[in-house]
Each structure stands twice: as structure tokens, then as C-alpha cells.
Symmetry: C2
Subunit: 114 residues, 2 copies
Amino acid sequence: MSRPEAITPAKVRDAAPLFAALGDATRLGLLVSLCSGGPVSVTRLSATFEVSRQAITKHLEVLAEAGLVRSSRQGRERIWTFEPRRLDDAHHYLERLSRQWDDALGRLKAFVER
Amino acid sequence: MSRPEAITPAKVRDAAPLFAALGDATRLGLLVSLCSGGPVSVTRLSATFEVSRQAITKHLEVLAEAGLVRSSRQGRERIWTFEPRRLDDAHHYLERLSRQWDDALGRLKAFVER
DNA sequence: CAAAACCGCAACCAAAGGGTTGCACCATTC
DNA sequence: GAATGGTGCAACCCTTTGGTTGCGGTTTTG
């Protein structure tokens, strides 16, 4: 049967930078903060971490590039907000991978028991 | 109420290298191949990709380090197999993040409507 | 046993990543 | 209007990463 949810090379190229953005402890920590704490400014965020404010800014921009975070100016501050949609994308991608594996196992089993 | 599924810094440090391993198009492609095609040798795998066999080996070792893949010698070949468990870990991690966000939204809503 | 196939190891290279410091620039506040 | 607080930008640094080439070693195969 056809497999409409197959993982195309295009999807691979789309998902890779998303996972890459998640692949850093500091950035994951930032996401956790933004998830549970709500919108905050950079200096407030960087107070929790052990690296400089400028480093945190760079990380936030990487997250923004991946679509995991959004920023908006508010007076002299720049407020950063979590963006849940892209996280769902990553979620779905992993699910497709798992399903592909299960399908392969199923085919293997059917072949062996034949 | 207490929150036993909270994302601790330890979990962040554990999850980061896992996502980092997923954060490369070539490695994702390798995972897709191993998921759908079953156990294969390096040279067979590298035939599909545009980089050298040695580069593919490096990628596979990164995936193995992250626990996403396993290898076993078999005669003169080294056979690589997909390992689904760590993929579930990543899956669960993303789910915890989503839930944390939903909880925060719920608290915000309760606060606003108070 | 000689040739071919499969792999491991090492050296090397260019580019990207994560981090820092220093300074200039608005917006607030006193 | 002067000081302060929050950012932005640029230069610079070291390490990691993704990739290559070259070569030697070990199973298969003819």
C-alpha cells in the first residue's frame, strides 16, 4: 500500500535544523524557563544562567530561527515568548520515525513467519 | 501540587546530546534508512549518500554515542541497527515540555479569570 | 594464494559554534 | 539633563564538527 506519511528528503532537511536548535543544554534550559515562566526579557533570563547576556541573546536567536521562540519589543526591553507549534513538528517527526520502524518490524515478522 | 515529571537540569543535560545527534540532515537520513530498510553495512549505506564512507562512519558513531544505533561485527562487515528506545526518550522529553507549557497557560488563564 | 571487498585509523582542513569583551545606543528615571 | 538600565553590534578566540585523502589490515572469493 502507499505510504502518504513517508519521510521525504525535504522533511529531513526541514527537521534537522529544528533538532539542532534543541541540541544544546543552554538552549534547552532557556526553553524550559520560557515554557514554565512566561514571557521575559534577556537580562532577566540570563540572570539564571552562567553565561553572559550576549551569549544568551545568540542562543535565543538560534531558537527564533528554528521557530521555537518569538520576540517583541516593549519599551526598552525585548520580550521573548515560547512558540509551541514547531515543538509539535518535532514531535510528529519522531512519531513518523517510530511508526516507520514498527512497520519495518511488522514486515520482517510477516516474512519470517511465512 | 507537586510535579514529579518536572524537567530537572540533569534531564536537560541528558537530552541535549540526544537532540544534537538528531540535528544533522545526513544523520537523520541514516536513521530513516535504518528504520525502514533494516540492518546494513557501512558501504551499503554510504552508497545512497553523497559523502564518503568514512564520513558516514563518523555519523554512525555519533548516533551510537547517543544510543540511537547499535553495531555488531559479522564476518568482514559491520552491521548497523536502529535502536528505538532512545527515540522514545526524546519523544517523552518533548511531551514533558509541551505539558509544562500547557500547565503554564492554564495557570495564566486561572489568574486572569480570577 | 592472489585479488577484491570491507573496514579502521590517522592526518589534515575549512567552516561553524559557543563564548567573551568592549563600546555605542535608546529609553527611563531622578 | 545626567545617571542608569536594557540592548545591539562587532571583533576576536578557541574548540568542535563535518569532511577529505591516504594507507594498512583482515575476511572472502576466484
